[in-house]
Symmetry: C2
Subunit: 344 residues, 2 copies
């Protein structure tokens, strides 16, 4: 670490050190459940928020001010990477991401570039510097990227989907083109995350939101090897967290990768996650975001049970996916407070 952080619980948990209580943050903690975020959202469109360092850094620290999590995560989007690779990405209000020229065959790859990230994604690095300044070494800052498979899903499907069948069909009928695209995304992502670390993030997280749509065999062909390349390239620069949603079936494969932590969702019990990862890696998760709609007292009870089940060490308390827009503020607070008040 270049800097001495006042609260380094998160980094200590990533190193596997013993801690008085687990660190806590929430995926999508800078998001629509926060009224202060909604104020900014009404004024600026999605990519303006991502591309304006003042806005991205302000949004990043909003939840920290309100709840005092143990880590901040830079506000951005996984789709800034394909955008920088010369694949047009629009964000349609009420619809989600829309890619008007999706990749559907080998020739479509010709226009896809591995960009110079300092130029095309320089705004992210500026947002990191600005956020680090605002955080004043209080807590660590996480940078993130989409896993190559998850980015391929959007690049091929052209929009969100329940099942990403077009993306899967592309991989299964044109595996060579799929692997070529995955490698280009991987090369870009490695450069991107290295630049983020150079700009000051203290850890990086890969989001494989759609890994769980694959069989283990297909995950080990189309997703995991590319994440492994990224981990290998990054792990000596910063701790790497891999959150592969729905990928309980590959936890055993992922435990020996050099990643510092693995994210787990709520369909995988703490007991199974510990068993399959051999107790040797830090785990992060796994509260069902919809369970934050339970009454606050019940949230606190369930959070305490979750920490007991994972154990307080080698553990980062988090949700099993992003927080939902309709979660009441005091319910989010109950989640954070329950971790902070945890006593063995």
């Amino acid at each position: 670490m270049r800097t001495t952080l006042k609260n380094d619980l998160f980094l200590r948990a990533l190193k596997g050190e013993s801690v008085p209580r687990p660190p806590v943050w929430m995926m999508r903690q800078a998001g629509r459940y926060l009224p202060e975020f909604m104020e900014i959202r009404e004024k600026y469109d999605f990519f303006t928020r991502c591309r304006t360092p003042e806005l991205a850094s302000e949004i990043t620290i909003q939840p920290i001010r309100r709840y005092g999590m143990d880590a901040a995560i830079l506000f951005s989007d996984i789709l800034v990477v394909p955008q920088a690779m010369n694949i047009e990405v629009q964000m349609k209000p009420g619809f989600g991401p829309y890619l008007p020229n999706p990749i559907r065959k080998g020739e479509d790859l010709e226009k896809v570039i591995v960009p110079d990230v300092d130029t095309s994604l320089g705004y992210v690095m500026q947002a990191i510097s600005m956020t680090k300044e605002k955080l004043q070494d209080e807590i660590p800052l996480i940078g993130f990227a989409g896993a190559p498979w998850t980015l391929l899903c959007y690049c091929v499907e052209g929009q969100g989907s329940k099942t990403f069948d077009k993306a899967k069909g592309f991989c299964f009928s044109q595996p060579e083109a799929a692997h070529a695209l995955l490698q280009k995304i991987t090369d870009t992502t490695i450069a991107y995350l290295k630049a983020k670390v150079a700009a000051g993030v203290n850890a990086v997280q890969l989001f494989d939101s759609w890994g769980g749509l694959l069989s283990r065999q297909d995950y080990l062909e189309f997703s995991w090897p590319y994440q492994q390349q990224i981990i290998t390239a990054l792990k000596d620069l910063a701790p790497v967290i891999v959150f592969a949603k729905g990928c309980w079936f590959a936890l055993e494969d992922m435990a020996d990768s050099g990643a510092s932590a693995l994210g787990v969702d709520w369909t995988c019990s703490p007991e199974n996650a510990r068993k399959w990862t051999g107790e040797k890696i830090t785990l992060q998760g796994n509260f069902d975001p919809a369970r934050l709609l339970s009454p606050p007292e019940e949230i606190k009870k369930r959070v305490t049970e979750m920490i007991r089940a994972f154990g307080k060490d080698r553990y980062i308390a988090n949700l099993g996916h992003g927080i939902l827009p309709n979660i009441p503020l005091d319910h989010a607070k109950a989640f954070i407070d329950a971790v902070k008040e945890y006593k063995e």
Copy 2:
């Protein structure tokens, strides 16, 4: 069995008897990938197809004529049950199911009835009689229903969803109302499936399409007990298959239920499924429907590997979810043929 079927491979596999090769059928085998189905679909809207016994029975046997599966499944929809319970269900082309008056609080339950199924769903029983006649005892006929949890998802959310957060929020914030709704759906479903058996189906399948959105703990509270009630009420009348998509985490709980078979999706390996069910129950699945986009030769190779991994006995070859609309006809044929040609 009341009748002697010419091909009883499917029923023998459900009983756990040794068979020369596994039986095969495909979820959603009467569907949009078939040009003969598309012809009917262009002329009649969704609920007309469900409610007209001539159409439903014709659609049911279309795939049998073309491919000769070992079981037919009656063309219908899981949402005919809430419809009969006085919950309005529309099918919007290009959008999917739409329920204009979703259940959102306890009072909304007052209008929900447990109907006389012979009256309100009599058209299904007529479709069964007509289909049985057309099948001429060649192969068995499966009847199906949605699991109560999956039906609650639609009744509360009011439409399809990736995550059914409104439905989950309803359960987590108003558990009493949720359980009351689940019980009404369960009572209706038991009567419905009993009537189907009386009308002539040889087996029934429960589809818990959205069980995998729950943690094991929540699945055991909001989904499984209601399926168990249905199994207990039906199992002495006909074999019951439970397909709970994404519910690998509860296979062990479900293996001792009295169900004759459990469906498995492609994220759960045959080896894990066998291990967790203690080798004591018939398993059904689990080919990734998107893998039918691979070249036919590769499909055949992978199907053979799948059968070897499950073992030919106590096994029903199937997809791990419904067949996709864009599967070429010869790819579907490769899947069916590979099972029929299987030799140890």
